[in-house]
């Protein structure tokens, strides 16, 4: 796992940075040859009716993992180079930009672990990270109003990007799907915070955090 691993909900936990640091890149070096595939922006890498589970390594690009129902979509998170992903029965995986992936049938995991048991610890850690991310999302959906979700996300990104100026990934609708809300509601929330002096919009997809304390108070809800 490289430090390039960046997952919105994981970073929200505040322990993301420390956790990332614990990961050993030896895991990557020990992975056997897998199936390499290239995807263009917008391509579906994996859909819910895929019956063959695979384990994926993102080599290049950025992918989004999401759930959908009727006309609604929920983003579980996104992964960047160095991230591992084990397919979910009901999740979609789509490329947000041109992406290269190396993958293995899940059945190979058994032999991979038998050959190098350290792989098991790393794989457990990865699945544990996904579970942690899922827990964050559950808490958002169950307990936090949209303002709090947004504030948490922005503070997390501030930590990850090491700057008060946040570069957002994708446009409003994508971020709304990550925060479990609608585009309109997110837009309203952002613009209310701008009006209240917590944020400044430098340009589309770029926000400046002005009042960290106020954002932290909002995020505590």
């Amino acid at each position: 796992m490289s430090d390039a691993t960046r997952h919105p909900h994981a970073a929200m936990s505040g322990s993301g940075a420390g956790h990332t640091g614990e990961r050993s890149a030896d895991w990557l070096a020990q992975l056997p040859e897998g199936q390499i595939r290239q995807f263009d922006e917008g391509d579906v890498i994996c859909r819910p009716d895929n019956h063959q589970n695979r384990i994926f390594l993102i080599q290049q690009g950025c992918v989004r993992i999401c759930l959908s129902a009727e006309h609604k979509e929920l983003t579980l998170g996104w992964l960047r180079p160095g991230s591992i992903y084990v397919t979910h029965t009901r999740a979609w995986v789509e490329a947000l930009e041109p992406t290269r992936i190396c993958s293995w049938p899940i059945e190979r995991l058994t032999s991979m672990i038998a050959e190098a048991p350290e792989l098991a610890i790393a794989a457990m850690r990865e699945v544990g990270m996904m579970l942690h991310q899922a827990t964050n999302l559950i808490e958002d959906l169950a307990f936090r109003p949209v303002d709090a979700r947004l504030a948490r996300y922005l503070l997390l990104e501030r930590g990850t990007q090491n700057s008060d100026t946040i570069q957002l990934t994708g446009h409003t609708e994508l971020l709304a799907s990550l925060l479990g809300t609608s585009r309109q509601t997110l837009s309203t929330s952002i613009n209310r915070m701008i009006k209240d002096g917590l944020l400044n919009k430098l340009e589309r997809q770029q926000l400046q955090l002005l009042d960290i304390a106020a954002l932290e108070a909002l995020a505590q809800v």
Copy 2:
């Protein structure tokens, strides 16, 4: 893992029974001696500020895993004898009835896996099950109205209990916390279904499913 494993959200996926069947009880036989502890009904087994992660085996009784915030509580699920659980940073674990547990520090997992790599596969499967359960809950919270959540739960229990007469676990408030709603809303939902002829209440905590097709239609939302 024994067939006694029963987890509400897992069973909701409809693949729960099959998944249970794949598990090998050899996993249990290979587990080393751990720390045995006994808990009374209502005892907290594990709280969010516990910094030492452990891996738990439920030997007897029933435990509930939940998240809480302000005055709200969300049940992630419950576990019965034969279930394994790896502690979450932010989850509470509480005994719903007198319970016996065997546990190990999470650090022991590494040596356990080195001694018997099959343990890794079983542990991966367990964490994967938890992730699957979390995904079910996310879908409930993000996409499904309360009626649909209740219908899904009842149909799942019907499959697990192999009967049209469902024994509920705990009283209304507990089930409401599992379905991510309030006691009042759940009570209203149940009684509307009773009035509409889908359910019959035989006694507290015991419901008879009368119209499976209507419940299935509701659950599809």
